[in-house]
Symmetry: C2
Subunit: 310 residues, 2 copies
Amino acid sequence: MNEFELIGRLTCSLPTNKSVVVGAGDDCAVLDLGLPDRFLLFKTDAVVEGTHFTAATPPEQIGRKALARCLSDIGAMAGTPNSALITLALPRNFEPALVEKIYAGLGALARKYDVAIVGGETTFNPEKILISVALLGTALRGKCILRSGALAGDAVFVTGELGGSLEGKHLDFEPRLTEARWLADHFSLHAMIDVSDGLAGDLRHILKASKVGAELLATAIPISRSARLASKEESSAKTPLLAALTDGEDFELLFTVAGRDAVPLLDAWKQQFPKLKLSCIGKITAGEGVTIRDKEGVRPLTALGYVHFA
Amino acid sequence: MNEFELIGRLTCSLPTNKSVVVGAGDDCAVLDLGLPDRFLLFKTDAVVEGTHFTAATPPEQIGRKALARCLSDIGAMAGTPNSALITLALPRNFEPALVEKIYAGLGALARKYDVAIVGGETTFNPEKILISVALLGTALRGKCILRSGALAGDAVFVTGELGGSLEGKHLDFEPRLTEARWLADHFSLHAMIDVSDGLAGDLRHILKASKVGAELLATAIPISRSARLASKEESSAKTPLLAALTDGEDFELLFTVAGRDAVPLLDAWKQQFPKLKLSCIGKITAGEGVTIRDKEGVRPLTALGYVHFA
């Protein structure tokens, strides 16, 4: 049994109750607790030293990233964050200034999005820093966007530019909360996710949940400057396209709308968010899996090389 | 700056918003999201190998304890738990069976209290197992019991028996959810907390939040069999009374009601919960701090020896 089989088995047998609209398996859990117009969104996410940041990362940025990741998940459902609890697990004899700085980074981002920090705890963890954020939010009942609504013929969009996030963006990305709510307010989004595992992996999550396939257009994938530079500097690096498809930690929005909405959406977006790129990168197909169209023709995405599908 | 000064400083400067009824500093955060009759309760709690369990603890019991601690906090507000997210931080190369067993223990307790497990994540933590549970619950608006309502003249009650929990109870205690809701439904509770740090420490939390003092009656403190046995077996052990006051991890309810309600409450309790002890252990005073009355007279609690006030 590998990790994914394990998660699958666990997910099948989790206890549920009548308030659960969406349990494990989307960006956030969705709960109906009887609010007349809204669902609750519930999410936790942990960052661990050595995996999500290093011993050299400034503590303000560690705190900011811990919260921003959760905010990105609320964004991916077109939701509004409300309040957070923070669990800091720190080696014994930590410096109080370290905790203050983590909270400073976290608190500044919380204030920006009107998120209350309503408590949490500091506990001891041998060796490494771990921060877990639990976040509560809401989404309008008719405008909570899941992964499971993509339809054959949909256009696939992604915000921003992809790849090379570990060069810096993973510590100062802006969660796409404003953009996601604007999209849900003005267009009928069929499916949405935030790009955390990499475009290829996260698109797979949408396809699996929606039981469809996708064809991407290689020249339409927005590749970040960092990904282009990295590919020039190191002979062993991925190609820029592969980096954009697989690097992860981009925290951009990946979503689908009906094909007929694609052009009006691009036009309206340019008016609303002139500084943030929006790219139509392909279409949803009735088949299975992901193909990519480039000058060689249409091939399975895996033909490009290693593709991480976590 | 020590740990408590640090927490105090952090707590003062946390971002808040208009939905926050009670932020950091009670058993759970209390949020008003517009549900007509209820507040939301929001809580996280983490257990870490080496602090809350050992490498020899059966994984089912680790999972059960992780959830039960959070449920106990919901109980302390007279609330009803609704749904949980689980963060498992495990050393690399963990056995999938370990995760399944942790979830088995957690899931069985969740089912018992109709708590949905709506997701979470498994992440890597060097060396030790850490489990963080985020729990969402609700409480009736008029019956959400805080730490801050104790009044001079109140009677102080505690359920069950205290001390020696590490002999076993800390792994199989029953969160007092049913009892807490019955209490809040039938009596006007002024303040309540669950005993996790030890009776003396948790009583202090109520006194500080309520700006009052307390006088305990030494002979009324319910001492567990484990605490009595431990005191006999080891010459270095605390006295049974000191163990009951300071051991911690009892997860019983500590609460206050107006003095005139004390006898009716004891009578009604015996009818409702004949198998669970309820003890009136003292009274709330207008002063500061905790005194204890025993055959020597009335003395500050600290006169008994080391008392942990975390």
